[in-house]
Subunit: 225 residues, 2 copies
DNA sequence: GTGCTTGTGTTAGAATATCTAACAAATGGA
DNA sequence: TCCATTTGTTAGATATTCTAACACAAGCAC
């Protein structure tokens, strides 16, 4: 975590960058990505607009940085939970805790969740760069899933084919990982994302049910399957 | 479908509106919502920017209209499938066909899908207005699910509570609908959306598996559960 | 046909945005 | 002390949305 010996200048620079990102985050929360404006940030910080271009190459660069920060923040949240729940805790409980922490994270900062998993705005982080970032969030899930008993797919079935596809790719990136586990990780990801995404976007609004309850029933289903 | 006797003027007006919306759709596909510009549309149509304000109250109004069109287009797609698959077709097959048509629709026009189910951009359609629109897409699913044997939830279980919550709300909007069916509709919605959303946003890129296969296995799981 | 109302387009302009270029000033090390 | 680097400034090109004021044309009543 400790970097190079930072000069006074570098410290000030880092501070200004952080302050700018903080304001940008607030703008994002208030009006979406479209509301993030280098000019307005500068004005709020007491400097002119173009001055900020010394700190961020462009508006897109700023947004890209915010996205990467969000990824690493979410990943850190899952890792904290994973660390707290040691190996003695049943994998089912670990998975449930992980799922809950992701939803909680998303609900407290919806705009940030949508920055990661909502509509990708052209010009920001290249899709290829997001895969490793997204993977980091998934890793604690995969660890817990590894501790679960694996039931083999029927040879020749759709599941088996899919797991074979995943196995070949997965072996290249992580030798310990196996197809079936990764497949289940994918399923967890897509199902939880579907729930969180629709809730955060307000699609459940005024439908008179408790999204947390739906979420929990789906976790149940994931653990049963 | 036939409206009032349209005057020559109204016809021209409708045509220009359609032309503008068509260009907006193309801009959307090319660069996301941010790339939709009344000025640019006007230029392309051979008129000045402000002239378009005779046809659309604002940029937001144009986008709102595009969103509503997309909803009704997607709903129409599901309704066509539902109509084609008569009551003699097994509900399982109808559900599968419905699921496939939604994914196909989303893949051929990702930007439009994300307009409906991606990050909501502030200023556009109010969340309350989207609920009935989204519901219309769901209705064919609910119809098919109704034809499926209902297995009761264990009294007092999470599922039972959730279904009770849904029943009260659902009774008000559609007397024929019951809690368990609607609950299953919700599950279908969230799971399919999670899959489609991540695929369309490119999160599966370079992961070396066939998204269609994953999609089909999840349909299998939905039909089994 | 004459003339009025309505609709449709124009230009001009205010406000805001990104981003570049040229210049000024402050900071920090040799 | 001097010089290079960093950080800030203003000015400007170009784009956006949207309003206001004005010109023209199309449609309808008489």
């Amino acid at each position: 975590m400790v970097g190079q010996p930072v000069s006074r200048r570098e410290r000030y620079r880092a501070e200004t960058r952080e302050e700018a990102k903080g304001i940008a985050l607030r703008q994002l929360a208030e009006g979406g990505t479209g509301a993030v404006s280098l000019n307005a940030i500068g004005k709020e910080m007491g400097i002119t607009g173009p001055a900020l271009y010394r700190y961020f190459a462009s508006r897109d660069a700023l947004l890209t940085e915010i996205i990467i920060d969000a990824y690493s923040d979410l990943a850190a949240a899952t890792e904290v939970v994973a660390a707290r729940q040691g190996d003695d805790v049943a994998p089912q409980e670990r998975l449930r805790a992980l799922a809950e922490v992701i939803r909680a994270w998303a609900l407290t900062q919806p705009h940030r969740y949508l920055l990661l998993y909502g509509t990708p705005v052209p010009g920001y982080v290249a899709p290829d760069d997001t895969v490793p970032l997204a993977r980091r969030v998934l890793v604690p899930f995969l660890d817990a899933l590894s501790a679960l008993p694996v039931m083999g797919a029927i040879p020749g079935s759709r599941l088996a084919v899919l797991e074979a596809q995943l196995a070949t790719w997965v072996r290249a990136t992580d030798p310990h990982m196996v197809g079936p586990v990764f497949r289940r990780g994918l399923v967890w990801w897509t199902r939880l994302h579907g729930l969180i995404s629709l809730e955060v976007e307000g699609h459940f609004a005024s439908m008179g049910f408790d999204p947390a309850l739906l979420y929990d029933t789906e976790i149940d289903a994931l653990l049963d399957g």
